[in-house]
Symmetry: C2
Subunit: 140 residues, 2 copies
């Protein structure tokens, strides 16, 4: 793991553990792209990415990282979490730019019931924030 | 990447590319565990794992691997594929044992629509093979 990636990962862990949203804003690049586990189309907006990531961090309970892989500016991080009564596993697939900022994040969740529970919890938060939600998900 | 992991990965690529099911049987350990993207509970059966993997290889179209990460005996492989008209991305999270055989495989798929399409296609194959399928998935 190169130093830039190592430094990013230390900050990332702190953000997730301490829910430090100021640090999150600092390490996300202005041209970040977010690939959600729920919909195919990526979000190319720093504000929306920050909204999603900060809310996901709050929705997940008992969050823990497990295997972590690095290759140059890329990371693959395995995690487990609960969403309400559903258990899930996930992967954060991350790319940082040459300034060490998050430029791509793609999130994968299994199984179906955990993914649908996350989608439902996030849709609720989008609605509460007055952000339009896309088409309705099948019920979990 | 250690030599054992490198050798495994070369065989794995050949299996996926050439749909070589004899080689698949060779490189899967007898005590393999499969964590499906659809259901939480793992399958601890070599026969069932072989059935699932060989059918998944047939269900996916335009399959391609992208970023590949290795750490000791562990691999994280990013892929893209089509299932019918749905596009999806995925991760194979793989662990091999000290004999270089597949002992753990956990598969992640995004987005929801791609995952549900895979679940539906696989349920159909389970039914055709006379293998009981668990509870019905929400429709894609």
């Amino acid at each position: 793991m190169n130093n830039k990636t190592k430094e990013f990962l230390e900050k990332w862990h702190r953000i997730v553990l301490e829910k430090d949203m100021d640090m999150l804003r600092e390490i996300v690049a202005d041209d970040v792209t977010l690939y959600s586990p729920v919909v195919f189309k990526p979000k190319k907006s720093k504000d929306e990415t920050l909204f999603v990531l900060s809310n996901v961090i709050q929705v997940f309970e008992n969050f823990a990282y497990h295997r972590e892989f690095a290759d140059g500016n890329n990371l693959a991080l395995e995690f487990s979490a609960n969403i309400g009564e559903k258990s899930c596993k996930g992967i954060d697939l991350i790319e940082i730019n040459d300034s060490g900022k998050l430029v791509n994040i793609e999130v994968f969740i299994r199984p179906v019931q955990g993914l649908l529970a996350l989608g439902e919890a996030m849709n609720k938060r989008f609605e509460e924030a007055g952000i339009p939600v896309g088409k309705k998900l099948p019920s979990a």
